[in-house]
């Protein structure tokens, strides 16, 4: 592990019974980096973060976090790490203040520092006025902010965040993203899991794409996009709006089609070959072309190309994945 490395994961594997949740994952996160683990729900992101933060033990493989092996020096590793789970794990029965102080006690924050840091963090996260309120009455966004505050009370070198904006309203999501960005700019290494491709594209310096427990690609978002630049994307919208996926997919030179709102994105090797075909297609089907553009590949396009998954899979929320899994088991 190089001295510049904050997290080094080697062949990390996790089985739950017969289910392979993480399959020989290997990657490295540099100090001060904003790193994203991107994948659909159920891909193994949370299991990976749980292994790296001591909540579950790997079946095989190892990881070094903040210079300490998680299997042999777990306590030393945890001292330098802050963890923000997807669902609040604060004590609902305790006040915001008491939650922060208890966390500070667990992390050996000196007694004379605890109050000062708790006050600073509550002010920073806009919760100072609610410090005496029970966390149980907080909104989801407030809980998420307090969970991040608790993860920062011991000033960690690395902050692990599991789906930090999932389920939040637009304003709370934006606030959390800005806070995380500022933390990274002040030197904290950020390890973030997300199934929001746009979020990973906006925030992360490097992204690992995980699907079915396997790390498929690790690179900068721009480099991932560049890998598919030989593919052209044509975005077209018709009037009236109809489900045309199958018809468009059958057009000559079109390799794949996805629907984004009222528009269709067609992937092809050469856009100039497809545009005249689209014009003919509109005419033959009595459809008026409302707009037609060629696009630069986005991270979503790269993701689709790399994983073979549709963007809709990424939009599937965790609850739905759980329901589908339990239905298939039942």
């Amino acid at each position: 592990m190089s001295p510049e490395s904050a997290v080094k994961v080697s062949n990390l594997t996790k089985y739950y019974g017969d289910l392979l949740a993480v399959d020989h994952a290997s990657f490295e996160v540099c100090r001060g980096e904003f790193f994203g683990l991107l994948g659909p729900n159920g891909a193994g992101k949370t299991t990976t973060i749980r292994m790296l933060t001591g909540q579950t033990r790997p079946t095989s493989g190892n990881a070094v976090v903040a210079g300490s092996d998680i299997a042999h020096q777990p306590i030393k590793a945890k001292e330098r790490v802050g963890v923000v789970p997807e669902v609040s794990n604060l004590y609902d029965e305790m006040s915001a203040w008491d939650n922060l102080i208890f966390t500070a006690q667990l992390y050996d924050v000196p007694k004379d520092e605890r109050d000062k840091r708790a006050k600073e963090l509550l002010e920073l996260f806009g919760l100072y006025e609610r410090q005496k309120d029970r966390v149980g009455v907080f909104s989801r966004g407030m809980k998420r902010r307090l969970t991040i505050a608790a993860a920062l009370i011991h000033r960690p070198d690395i902050l692990f965040l599991d789906e930090p904006t999932t389920g939040l309203d637009v304003q709370s999501g934006r606030m959390i993203r800005n806070l995380i960005k500022e933390l990274n700019e002040s030197g904290t290494t950020i390890f973030l899991t997300t199934h929001y491709i746009e979020e990973a594209d906006q925030l992360c310096q490097r992204v690992a794409i995980i699907n079915q427990g396997k790390i498929i690609a690790v690179d900068n978002p721009e480099k991932l996009k560049a890998t598919i630049e030989e593919h052209h994307i044509i975005e077209v919208s018709f009037s009236p709006v109809k489900d045309l996926n199958d018809k468009l997919r059958s057009l000559k030179h079109v390799s794949s089609v996805s629907r984004v709102g009222d528009k269709f994105r067609l992937h092809a090797e050469d856009a100039s070959e497809v545009v005249p075909i689209l014009i003919d297609f509109g005419r033959e089907n009595n459809l008026r072309i409302m707009s037609i553009n060629t696009l630069k590949p986005s991270l979503e396009d790269a993701f689709v190309q790399i994983t073979g998954l549709s963007p809709e899979v990424m939009a599937t929320e965790k609850d739905q994945v759980r329901r589908e899994k339990s239905a298939s088991v039942g």
Binding site: G54, K76, V81, S88, Y91, M94, D98, F102, Q105, L106
Partner: protein
């Protein structure tokens, strides 16, 4: 080492703050010893000192055990247990902290029962120091047992039945309601494998002042050994749940 103990005390204080007044603690911890005693002992000719020691030992058993029948499964169900797992705290420290939380409740409940039962029964407490020492040792052993029993479970309804069953069975076998000497020999053997037997004996010696040094030492060592044994088992069970 000292840091770990301090963290264990913080965990215990947190549990005390959150769980002392949870409804299952009140019903199981406070009322069950009195209900069992009233149901099975009233009107039967028993030594008044054994009644007091039995009731106080039961209060320690249900009080110390009740809090962890609630706290641990509830924390695992709500995810708050993960806060402890991600902190730089060993599983041993967590188990000791949880057991200390139960210990506080067990002591409070035992003292409450003592303050009510001793004056009303018209008996006197001959050796208060030994009695308090016995209550503390017993409550810790029972609390560690509570952590051990609830460690595999992830919600309260799952954890409560085995916890209650084990405690009630112990009450019938450990000399609280029926003297151990009157039990069939195989049940006497089982009785000597239960921590409540040693707790009742120790408290009874403190009540009457008739102290048999060797027996007293055996009671104390047995309670320490049970505390250690239950704590180790609890750590092993929790470690297994991480796999």
């Amino acid at each position: 080492m000292s840091k770990s103990i301090i963290k264990a005390v913080h965990i215990a204080k947190k549990d005390a703050k959150i769980y002392f007044f949870k409804w299952p603690n009140i019903t199981f911890g406070l009322s069950l010893p009195a209900i069992i005693y009233l149901a099975f002992s009233v009107g039967k000719p028993t030594e008044i000192s054994s009644t007091v020691s039995g009731l106080v030992a039961m209060a320690a058993l249900f009080g110390a055990g009740a809090i962890q029948s609630v706290a641990l499964p509830l924390e695992r169900a709500t995810g708050t247990f993960d806060r402890l797992l991600t902190a730089p705290v060993s599983l041993t420290t967590i188990v000791i902290g949880k057991a200390l939380g139960g210990l506080f409740f067990g002591i409070v409940l035992s003292i409450a029962y003592s303050l009510i039962v001793i004056p009303f029964s018209g008996t006197t407490l001959t050796n208060p120091f030994l009695f308090t020492f016995g209550v503390v040792l017993s409550a810790y052993a029972f609390s560690a047992l509570g952590v051990c029993i609830s460690a595999p479970f992830r919600d309260i309804p799952e954890a409560m039945p085995p916890a209650t069953l084990i405690r009630v069975a112990m009450v019938f076998l450990s000399g609280v309601l029926i003297p151990v000497a009157t039990l069939p020999s195989f049940l006497q053997t089982i009785a000597h494998l239960l921590p409540l037997t040693y707790a009742v004996d120790m408290l009874q010696q403190a009540m009457t002042g008739q102290i048999a040094a060797q027996l007293l030492l055996l009671d104390a060592l047995a309670l320490v050994a049970f505390s250690f044994f239950f704590s180790v088992i609890a750590v092993l069970i929790l470690r297994r749940t991480l796999h």
